[in-house]
Every structure is written in structure tokens, then in C-alpha cells.
């Protein structure tokens, strides 16, 4: 997103930071993978992501008969691209790569691209299990997305702005997690769900032999799973400016606090998978619509009253 500010924006980072962003995210993702391997009790957790990447790099790509290879590969590529674009509005310290006035909406739009991506990968393989995985994710999107949107819009409401740097500034006195705990918890759940991670991994579940990813091998699998991990890291990192005060904190510089808080959220997400079995959407959708949506609306209403009262 280096070319983004046509009119130079004083709050955004310089253009070359856009080149740095993938590197930073890659490192964060690598660290997360090592953490996950360690949590899974695997030996040589430090080396595991490297071996996995080498395995997929040298692995043969395969194609299923009458599959739509172009569709599937576009779908796979959309995942990491969407994650990177979503990260453009993420304040790395105090400033993001692109400080859009509609940052929250931008993040939401990029994250929703994952719906299309997973479905395209599942459909493109022309395999029954791949397709089952693909439409499981579409059902999952219908379940998590509305509560998720109410949750992130509550943070925007609290700051009276869709700009992420403004939302961070509004939390100088009190982090939003304190005044909108329901929104924060719902956001955490949807962060796992949008990366089809943890208890929300039915789209790539073992019961359908890998679901949407069932027919992927080699570089195709590397791009798909890498994109998924990037998405998880970006979704976790976005909780920091939305609810956890961004880079605010004593002693350390802002970027270090962002890193520490992101790592904490990621650790929580890794633990979620350890703690809960896969939540099937035929059960979850009812909970999401009957319980979570009213709760998040009530939360938004409460925050709106606070904002109006304070004005």
C-alpha cells in the first residue's frame, strides 16, 4: 500500500514501510508457527516451520481431473494478499502504513475476501470434500460476520471515528476492552473464525480429510496455509488498536507494546484451539444469531449512550 497516499498523509509511515510490512508480518507469523508447534508438544519446534516450508516448496503441485485450476489458485493467492492489505491500516507502533479515514471498514472488507478465497479453493479442486469445506466456510462467514461487524463498529463508535489512529488516541484514558468487554470477546472469536482457526476450523477439518485444502499440495498448499496464518496474525494484531490501547504502555516504545500485546492475543488464540473442540456451524449459527448479535447490539447501545453522555 505504499502508493496509497496520493495526498501525503502526515500520520502514515513513509512509503517504504509498505515493503517492510510483509517482512514484519512474515516474522510474526513464523514466531506464531514456532509457538504453535511448541504448544502441540512437537519436538524441534524451532525447526518445524522451516521443514514444513521446505517440504511444500519442493513438493509437486497436483491437479484434480476437470478441476478449475485458475479459480483455485486465485483463491489461494487471495488469502495472503487480503491479509497483507488488511495489515496496511494496522498501526505498527503509533502509525500505520496507510492511515485511511475508513480504516475499520477497509480491514473488514479485506478480511471478508477470505470467504471468497476459501470457497474458490474448495470449488476449484472439483472434489466433493473440497467443496464441502468451501461451503462450510461460507456458512461460517454468515455466522460470525454480523456479530463481528457489530463488535468492531462498537470500537469505532467509542472513538467516533473509523480511523484506527483516532481509535487508539481515544483509548488514552481507558482501553476499550474495559468499557466494551463483550465486543472484545466477540472480536476474539471472530478473529479465530475468519482465519478458520481453533474451534472454528471445520472448513479444513480432519473429518473431511482437510476440507477446502484437501487437494492442495506443494506451493499451492504453502500459499493457502501461509495466507491463513497471516490472516490469523493480522486479525490478532488488529485487536490491539481496536481494544487494547494500541502502542500505549510504560517504559517500552509503542512498537514494542504493539508486538507484546499482539503476542498475548495470539497466545490466547492458540490456547483456544487447545481448549475447545471444533464448533460446527449447524450449531453455532443459532448461538451467533440468537445470543451474540443481541449482545453486541446491546453493547453498542451502551457505548453509544456513554459517548452521548460524555459529549
Amino acid at each position: 500500500m505504499g502508493e496509497m497516499p496520493v495526498v501525503p498523509d502526515p500520520v502514515a509511515l513513509p512509503w517504504w514501510s509498505a515493503l517492510l510490512l510483509p517482512v514484519l508480518l512474515g516474522l510474526a507469523t513464523w514466531a506464531t508457527l514456532v509457538g504453535d508447534a511448541a504448544l502441540a508438544g512437537g519436538r524441534a519446534a524451532l525447526a518445524a516451520p522451516g521443514r514444513e516450508a521446505a517440504r511444500l516448496l519442493v513438493g509437486q503441485r497436483r491437479r484434480t481431473v476437470a478441476g478449475d485450476g485458475v479459480l483455485g489458485r486465485i483463491g489461494g493467492a487471495v488469502l495472503p494478499i487480503a491479509a497483507l492489505l488488511a495489515a496496511a491500516v494496522l498501526p505498527l507502533g503509533e502509525r500505520p502504513v496507510a492511515d485511511l479515514s475508513v480504516g475499520v471498514v477497509w480491514f473488514n472488507a479485506m478480511e471478508v475476501m477470505a470467504w471468497a478465497a476459501v470457497w474458490m479453493v474448495g470449488w476449484g479442486s472439483n472434489s466433493a470434500l473440497g467443496l464441502v469445506g468451501g461451503y462450510r466456510f461460507v456458512a461460517q462467514g454468515l455466522a460470525y460476520e454480523l456479530p463481528h461487524m457489530f463488535a468492531i463498529i462498537t470500537a469505532a463508535l467509542g472513538a467516533e471515528s473509523l480511523r484506527l489512529t483516532t481509535i487508539v488516541e481515544a483509548q488514552q484514558d481507558m482501553w476499550f476492552v474495559v468499557i466494551m468487554p463483550v465486543a472484545f470477546v466477540v472480536y476474539l472469536m471472530s478473529a479465530a473464525a475468519m482465519a478458520f482457526w481453533g474451534p472454528f476450523d471445520a472448513p479444513v477439518g480432519p473429518d473431511v480429510a482437510g476440507g477446502a485444502a484437501a487437494e492442495l499440495s506443494g506451493v499451492d498448499r504453502l500459499v493457502f496455509t501461509g495466507g491463513r496464518w497471516l490472516l490469523l496474525v493480522v486479525a490478532a494484531a488488529m485487536a490491539v488498536p481496536l481494544f487494547l490501547g494500541g502502542g500505549a504502555g510504560p517504559f517500552l516504545p509503542a512498537w514494542a507494546w504493539v508486538a507484546v500485546k499482539t503476542a498475548a492475543v495470539l497466545a490466547l488464540l492458540l490456547w483456544l484451539r487447545h481448549r475447545f473442540p471444533t464448533v460446527r456451524m449447524d450449531r453455532y449459527v443459532e448461538f451467533a444469531w440468537v445470543v451474540l448479535i443481541p449482545l453486541t447490539i446491546a453493547q453498542a447501545l451502551a457505548v453509544a449512550l456513554v459517548v452521548l453522555g460524555g459529549a
Binding site: 518445524a48 519442493v58 497436483r62 466433493a128 480432519p206 473429518d207 482437510g210
Partner: protein, 386 residues
């Protein structure tokens, strides 16, 4: 510097292994799973993610045909091993890792693999470019030229009467099947029939898809194949059979607790709870080794029973006269009492009927919680129609 050889060596330290369980050879499967856990090698969910195809036991003719078909779907670099006895497992896995790291072998193997593969091809339009195969192991990204992993060829076998007497077992594939398993009369696409139409439970006319589940599927009973007719993910018809049912010597578990823990581990795997499943598997291996595991088993049972999420997810999924949650409770009680077994369906009798009307995810849970003893299956097929 040979980068490919270097990457092969790095990757060969942690290959993904697709385990094919042979009915009756449960002991070999247990040894294999324990060896994989010891080495920290992940279990592949399907052929696409596999580097090693490991057959646990000596398959009968029907399962052997399936294994051949699955092998065609494993992308290079790859190695295929078979262990006839529990003692062979470690040696075979070492051999597989050595084979995977051997760049010279992996290069030639792809070529020969393709050549022999040609015999299986009937009339696939995309296939045919046999001249460019040589470099595939070197440049994985070029592999799209009709490489052997561009399977689907066996899918074509599926065109000829799946329910017929001559039904070749190889189209059971890895339990997913590629779009080619349709029984269509509505025309052909790329040599595959289109899906046919049929009325669904709401009176609409929807596509019916014929999908075999098993016998190579994660945490699935050995040798079981359930042929499904799906509309969306709702099962309209189902029939279950056990491959090579007459060839099987039943496995005698040395410990009832270990057998029940094995069933629990597979159920938890299907339910998508890998950490609890791993715990159950470790305790199973400990029980088989003769360790005292009562305290830890108690902790695992408490963990599973306390999970409100799990109960919410499996409550009300009908499995015969009872539901999946009740069956799980009975299984947990059986482990606790180390009593002879929860009531279990012998073989696959009536399994098809239980699955009709269920969704695919629920069907997987039903099979996992019933855990049919495929070692003692009678030959034959029971069909269920909805």
C-alpha cells in the same frame, strides 16, 4: 549447490504420513501411530498432504486396489511403505525418510511412476503430455503437466455401476472422491458424468452427488467404506461395507482400556479436538505398554465430561435408538470401569440406515462414536435409503 537436494533433506526430517489401516492389523496401526508420535511426524489427512503412504498390515485384494489408487494421488516427493508386523514399523519409517531425502531416487521415481501410471488412464483429455515429466521432482511448480498426481483417473472407474457386482473398490479413493463419482446421465464433462437430479427432503429437485467415505480417511474404522448419496451435505442414501471382510483375522486387544481409549482418541479426532485426542492416544500407548494410567485416564475423562462445548455439539445427533452424546457417555463409563466394552455395532450392519438424513459432519461423528468393529465384519452390503 543442489538446492532441491538440500530442501529434500530438510523436509525428509519431518514427513507427513498417510496411514492406511488394514482390518485385523490393528497392532501394526498402533505401533505405527506410536512411532509417528515419538518422531513428531504429522499424520496426513489425505493423499495430497502426504509424503509417505504407510500401509499398516497386509491388505486383502480389495483394499490393496484402493491403496494403489491412493498412491497415484500422492504428490512427489513420496515414499510407500508397508509394515506386516509391529516390529517392522521403525525400520520401514527410516527407509521412507531415507528415500525421501534421496534426490536422485525422487527424480527418477517420478518418471517411472508416470510411465506405469499410464496404464490406468482411459481417456483423460488433460493427460497426455508424457514428455515433460523428467524435471518434475526438480521443479515442483512445473508439475501441472499431467503428472501422476493429476489423478482423478481412478475416478473414471467409478462410472461403471458403483453398486454393481463388478464395482471396483479403487474408486473409493481416499474417501473424498473427485467430482468424478457422480452417476449422471446428464452428459459428460472431461470424461466424467454430471451430477444427477433428485427430490430432496424439502421437495426441491437438487443435485445428487455420490461420495464414498473411506477407507482411507483420518480416524476412520479400518477397511470401512460408506457409499453416500448427498444433496448438499445431507445424506439421502447410504450403504456400508467392509473391504476384504472374509480375509480378516480379528485383532485381540491385550487391554480393554486400551481398546476403549483408542476409540475415544479417534472420536475426539473427528470432533476436532486434537489436544484431547492426543492425550487419549498417549494414554492408550501407555496402557498397551503396561503402565499404570488410572490417574491420568481419570483426568482425561473429567476433561471430556466437563466440556460443555463438546456436549452441546454432539447432543441430539441421532444414532439408532440413542444419540451420539449418550454413546460417548457409555464409552467413557466403560473406560472408567475398565469393563468389557461399551455396546458396539459389530461390523457395519445397519450403519447405512443410521446415516440417512444426517449431515456429513454428523455422520462422521456417528461412525466415530459407534466405532464398528470392522475386524469381525461379515461380507456384504447393507443399503439404507431415505
Amino acid at each position: 549447490m543442489d538446492l532441491t537436494a538440500l530442501l529434500l533433506r530438510v523436509a525428509a526430517r519431518r514427513p507427513h504420513v498417510l496411514v492406511v489401516a488394514v482390518p485385523g492389523a490393528t497392532g501394526v496401526r498402533l505401533a505405527l501411530e506410536a512411532a509417528l508420535a515419538r518422531r513428531g511426524w504429522p499424520v496426513a489427512p489425505g493423499p495430497a498432504d502426504a509424503d509417505v503412504l504407510a500401509v499398516a498390515g497386509m491388505p486383502g485384494p480389495e483394499l490393496a486396489a484402493v491403496v494403489d489408487a491412493v498412491w497415484e494421488q500422492v504428490p512427489a516427493p513420496r515414499a510407500r511403505i508397508g509394515a506386516a508386523a509391529p516390529g517392522d514399523v521403525d525400520e520401514r519409517l527410516d527407509a521412507a525418510a531415507a528415500l525421501l531425502a534421496d534426490a536422485g531416487h525422487q527424480r527418477t521415481q517420478v518418471v517411472s511412476g508416470n510411465a506405469s501410471h499410464g496404464a490406468h488412464i482411459h481417456s483423460r483429455p488433460e493427460h497426455g503430455d508424457h514428455t515433460e515429466h523428467g524435471d518434475h521432482a526438480e521443479h515442483g511448480d512445473h508439475a501441472e503437466h499431467g503428472d501422476h498426481a493429476e489423478h482423478g483417473d481412478h475416478a473414471e472407474h467409478g462410472n461403471h455401476g458403483e453398486h454393481g457386482a463388478d464395482a471396483a473398490p479403487d474408486h473409493a479413493g481416499h474417501g473424498g472422491g473427485h467430482g468424478g463419482h457422480h452417476h449422471g446421465h446428464g452428459g459428460m464433462v472431461a470424461g466424467l458424468p454430471m451430477a444427477e437430479l433428485g427430490p430432496d427432503r424439502d421437495g426441491l429437485t437438487l443435485d445428487r452427488l455420490h461420495v464414498p467415505l473411506g477407507p482411507v480417511l483420518p480416524d476412520w474404522p479400518a477397511g470401512l467404506v460408506v457409499r453416500l448419496t448427498l444433496q448438499g451435505d445431507v445424506i439421502q442414501e447410504a450403504s456400508a461395507e467392509v473391504l476384504d471382510a472374509r480375509h480378516t483375522e480379528p485383532y485381540e486387544w491385550p487391554s480393554v482400556a486400551a481398546r476403549e481409549l483408542d476409540g475415544l482418541a479417534r472420536f475426539l479426532g473427528v470432533a476436532g479436538w486434537p489436544s484431547a485426542a492426543g492425550q487419549a492416544r498417549r494414554l492408550r500407548d501407555a496402557a498397551l505398554a503396561g503402565d499404570r494410567v488410572e490417574a491420568e485416564v481419570g483426568a482425561l475423562l473429567r476433561r471430556v465430561r466437563r466440556s460443555r462445548t463438546l456436549r452441546w455439539l454432539i447432543k441430539g445427533i441421532p444414532a439408532g435408538p440413542t444419540d451420539v452424546a449418550a454413546l460417548l457417555a457409555a464409552r467413557l463409563a466403560a473406560i472408567e470401569a475398565a469393563l468389557p466394552a461399551a455396546p458396539r455395532a459389530v461390523g457395519s450392519a445397519g450403519l447405512g440406515d443410521l446415516l440417512v438424513g444426517a449431515e456429513l459432519a454428523a455422520a462422521r461423528l456417528i461412525v466415530a462414536t459407534l466405532d464398528p468393529d470392522t475386524d469381525r465384519a461379515e461380507a456384504g452390503t447393507e443399503a439404507g435409503h431415505g
